[in-house]
Symmetry: C2
Subunit: 301 residues, 2 copies
């Protein structure tokens, strides 16, 4: 029974970093997020792929425990992203995007998905995110939405509506600065709180994340990695693992949210240690729990 | 009895930030670092000022417990720095520098200072830093050196010598990346460890600091501030408070160093909340200890 609906892309990625290269391997925000969630809960993915999508990738996702009822197979080709990371491995340069089957894709949620209590709206057109939310039978217990600079620049009002509708809207530091016109992340978080949220989370990439309520902040570092091979999908893994963990707990208060952020950072850190989804393939919940405990040691004073 | 020798500038600063402006008010790396150290230990400052240096500033420093035996009064004017911070308040743009009495200044340590067990070499010409170290009667128990991009670009070998000679060389993330040619801070820290150090500390400004040994890392966030008014001197406060705290403890093992980093971040965070040295003036050790405890709460999960 699917408890966590993940709306996000399933893609072929061609990635080049200073440490490796992939050619049309499995990627996409929905892929990363649902694999990350699968370590904790039962995710179902909402997206479309083309006729070229291989049986092995489907099998891989199924074996991870990802439900594919919401993954439509359409005539045409799978979404393709090509990107490159330079010396400063934090920012990708997009070399090519071919939307293919995702162009004008209007997802329809399977009946089972409409009953799910947990909904993760991966970064996407804010109107499409709201449409998915509206398709749910009733308001889920927890809605987490991701956003990105492209939509903030071009559809600011609609993005603010998503921030209002979701329980938690994830954005990174530059997105938060852009959306709220302040360089100060605590101030930006306070602006999020004014938009009908009890909690605001701002991601800071290699510097971790902050969580603010009206009264206080939690500041989580990222796991200090000596070998960052490929950061593609780390933000999606962060969101997916957070959501999966919270779905498993059935509770998303501030205390649980602090743990969820550390679980998010943990799965994201493993993901960065390999090309594409490579490191997620053999990852176990034991590996994840071990690194979660290490966070206590690296933050102790 | 001076236990902590602080080598750094005493200056007049003219600062403009989006939130305020000062005109020739007390500043300089030595000033900030020694005030920060004074909350914990007995610092003495090594620098020079001109005939224009006012009695009130001298009295202020003395009242804070800063020894001024090593502060030479020379014919001419006090060092003057003029800088401006823009919207992104993390980086200053230097508008004017007048070295005045610090031009060709060759400090001679007072006899009492030569016996001190703790030496903080503020960021300065690396040759001058080594000269101060050589003037000490015997190798101090702990030597912390600060550096900056200007010297890394122009005197890389000499800066590496300082890293080797000091117990801890403080650098910020961009300086570490420049010095060791890697964007990865854990890798850069490992390079520091190869240079005769047991511990490496890299400062990340608003993102905190990391401490690495061969075996593990400690990752400290900065205190999440909603109102950053003026970051001038924060790096010096970090170094000074760290050193003062370690001098007071008489122990600089990894456990103590973790606490010292949090104390450094604490004093730096107060400093950023006012223009120039404003916030340090009425700050008490009780305020500092209270915020130190708050760090436990903001890092708890």
């Amino acid at each position: 029974m699917v408890d966590t609906v993940v709306y996000g892309s399933v893609a072929f990625d061609s990635i080049k970093t200073p440490f490796g290269e992939t050619n049309k391997t499995l990627g996409g925000s929905g892929t990363y997020a649902s694999i990350a969630a699968s370590f904790f809960s039962k995710p179902g993915i909402v997206s479309a792929v083309g006729e070229d999508f291989p049986k092995e990738d489907e099998e891989f996702l199924k074996n991870k425990g990802v439900d594919l009822t919401g993954l439509e197979k359409k005539p045409g080709k799978t979404f393709h992203w090509k990107g490159e990371y330079g010396y400063d491995i934090n920012n990708a340069k997009t070399l090519d995007v071919q939307f293919n089957v995702l162009k004008d894709f209007k997802p329809e949620l399977p009946e089972e998905y409409k009953k799910a209590e947990y909904l993760l709206l991966g970064n996407n057109d804010p109107g499409a995110q709201l449409d998915i939310l509206n398709q749910m039978d009733k308001r889920p217990k927890l809605v987490i939405a991701d956003t990105m600079n492209h939509y903030i620049e071009n559809q600011r009002e609609k993005v603010l509506e998503v921030v209002k509708e979701a329980d938690i809207c994830l954005m990174n530091d530059s997105e938060a600065r852009m959306l709220f016109g302040t360089p100060n992340l605590v101030k930006a978080a306070k602006e999020v709180l004014k938009l009908n949220s009890d909690l605001a989370i701002i991601k800071k990439g290699e510097h971790g994340a902050i969580l603010c309520t009206e009264e206080k902040c939690f500041v989580a570092p990222a796991y200090p990695l000596e070998n960052v091979i490929d950061p593609t999908g780390c933000g999606d893994c962060f969101a997916g693992a957070m959501m999966g963990f919270l779905a498993k707990q059935g509770n998303a208060d501030e205390e649980m949210m602090r743990k969820a952020i550390i679980y998010g950072s943990t799965v994201a850190s493993f993901n960065a240690e390999g090309m594409g989804t490579e490191k997620l393939r053999d990852l176990t919940i034991e590996d994840i729990n071990k690194r979660f405990e290490e966070f206590k040691e690296i933050m102790r004073f």
